[in-house]
């Protein structure tokens, strides 16, 4: 028994162009979603880290006293760990101000203890540390990083809104393009639609032909876009892992974990469903204009 020829002709040049456009939009949408998630996750982790940290600056003292102070801090309840920054670490932190040669010899070397709190909130721990060190006769200023954390949270909120906007914009553009293409396809195949209509085909039967066609087209195009986004992400992740710390900061913060794969899998399905819905609405609306 011969296989039935589809009632809509096999794809033509218009559909090839649409395939490319939908694929490109899915690629951009997936990449935007992955970048947003990666950046958001990284910023959230960094925010959590600095929220649980207290920085203690010691003044008018030498390194040996600073080491003793570090031991005192470690014994304070609520402190997970305390570490006196080495000279190299200080030089590295101040490199943007003094260059690779480090601090000039005449300037006093800052002594800084980085304290990690047991809880994620170092706000209450900072004054306690400061009091204990002052009791021991040390000139110390302890500060939690909550003010930076608030900045990070604000930044995250803005980032989330921008990313959401970009993803929504790309998705609606894809839907609009598909609806436009479906309408064009419908006009181009008006003869077929008319013959089917006059042969007694119900509206949903005719719409179903277009739905299946555009569902498969968008699904395949979306899969292509998602695979391209996966390859791009993998390339960025690998490049980031191989690059130095400063170079890595120039790249988007991307990862490839479970949820990233969920985003990549959902992208073609969402594109397919959007295409199907757009095709159905377009065809049904157009058919309702006929008797």
């Amino acid at each position: 028994m011969k296989r039935e020829t589809p009632l809509l002709p096999i794809s033509d040049a218009r559909e090839a162009a649409l395939f490319f456009v939908v694929g490109a939009l899915c690629f951009l949408a997936a990449l935007a979603a992955l970048t947003t998630r990666g950046t958001y996750t990284a910023a959230k982790a960094w925010g959590a880290q600095i929220e649980g940290e207290v920085t203690v600056q010691l003044r008018s003292t030498d390194r040996r006293s600073a080491e003793a102070a570090t031991h005192i801090v470690r014994d304070i309840a609520g402190v997970e760990s305390a570490r006196l920054l080495s000279r190299d670490e200080i030089d590295e932190a101040l490199e943007p101000f003094f260059g690779s040669g480090g601090m000039p010899a005449g300037l006093p070397q800052p002594l800084i203890i980085v304290v990690e709190a047991v809880s994620d909130d170092g706000t209450l721990l900072a004054p306690q540390i400061e009091d204990v060190l002052i009791e021991h006769g040390l000139d110390a200023i302890a500060a939690s990083n909550w003010q930076y954390s608030d900045d990070v949270k604000d930044l995250l909120a803005v980032l989330r809104m921008i990313a959401f906007g970009v993803v929504v914009l790309l998705s609606t553009t894809a839907i609009a393009v598909i609806a436009f293409a479906t309408h064009a396809a419908l006009l181009a195949r008006r003869d077929i639609v008319d013959v089917l209509h006059l042969s007694g085909a119900e509206d949903r039967y005719i719409a179903g032909l277009f739905e299946r066609r555009f569902w498969l087209l968008a699904l395949k195009a979306g899969a292509g876009g998602a695979i391209a986004a996966l390859m791009m992400t993998a390339m960025i992740v690998v490049t980031g892992a191989q690059a130095g710390e400063i170079e890595a900061q120039l790249l988007p913060q991307l990862s490839l974990d479970f949820w990233d794969f969920v985003i990549l899998l959902v992208t073609p399905v969402a594109a397919g469903l959007a295409a199907r819905m757009a095709a159905r609405l377009t065809v049904m609306t157009s058919l309702r204009e006929t008797l």
């Binding site: 028994m1 011969k2 039935e4 020829t5 009632l7 002709p9 096999i10 003869d191 077929i192 008319d194 013959v195 089917l196 209509h197 006059l198 042969s199 007694g200 085909a201 119900e202 509206d203 039967y205 309702r288 008797l291």
Partner: protein
């Protein structure tokens, strides 16, 4: 059995009351047309080019709604039907379009089988039926040919097979013998006549082929400038 059939057997197959048709930005193509075609009747529709024959047929096969007036098919007032009911009503009507309207990417067989496919029937259930009909119209050897490769006459015969495959209650043919030789023209007319007599199919044929009209004693309705004139001698039903 169609849901329309049982209670409405005595209703005319086609009834037009005061039907007027006007396309956008044109004058009236049809004016106040009253027409009754009884079930089982065989009627010719003739008139000069541009008289409105094709427009009248389009109203009958539900391609257009009238600008004014009422159309009833098998007792059903078409303006009151839901879209699903209209689709079901269209499946009772076989149409041979003047310009054939075959689908170029389908074979002769697939074109002829289109109404079966649209009705949701499986290919194995109509395979023999379609092949037999195509053989009868002289296309037994061309069943797998794509329609663009067929001659005008062959395409017309595929269009006729498509109109007949569903054994319609109403057969509407717009110039069905326009592209075939006289012998095939007579065979087609004989087939329509057999359908009409044996199955009771209501047949309406638009033609300006005077030879065709001379060979038959069926009633003839004449359209002129959108107005109907009855052929009194032959008992035209206008």
């Amino acid at each position: 059995m169609s849901p329309f059939k049982p209670d409405l057997r005595d209703e005319p197959a086609v009834r037009l009351d005061g039907v007027t048709l006007r396309y956008d930005r044109t004058g009236e193509v049809l004016s106040e047309v009253d027409l009754i075609l009884r079930q089982g009747s065989f009627t010719f529709l003739t008139g000069p080019s541009g008289a409105g024959k094709s427009s009248l047929l389009k109203l009958m096969y539900l391609a257009h709604a009238p600008t004014r007036g009422v159309i009833r098919l098998f007792g059903q007032q078409t303006a009151e039907l839901k879209r699903k009911q209209l689709a079901a009503l269209r499946r009772r009507v076989g149409v041979v379009f003047q310009e054939f309207r075959l689908l170029d990417h389908l074979t002769a067989f697939e074109n002829a089988a289109l109404p079966m496919r649209v009705a949701g029937r499986k290919r194995e259930s109509y395979q023999e039926e379609v092949a037999d009909l195509l053989r009868w119209v002289g296309l037994g050897e061309r069943v797998d040919a794509l329609t663009p490769s067929l001659s005008g006459g062959e395409q017309q015969r595929v269009a006729i097979a498509r109109a007949l495959i569903n054994k319609p209650d109403l057969l509407i043919a717009d110039e069905p013998t326009g592209n075939v030789d006289p012998d095939m023209g007579r065979r087609i007319l004989r087939l329509f006549s057999e359908l009409n007599k044996r199955v009771g199919t209501t047949v309406v044929i638009a033609t300006h082929d005077l030879e065709l009209l001379r060979d038959t004693d069926a009633p003839v309705i004449t359209l002129n400038n959108g107005l109907l004139a009855r052929d009194v001698e032959r008992g035209g039903a206008a």
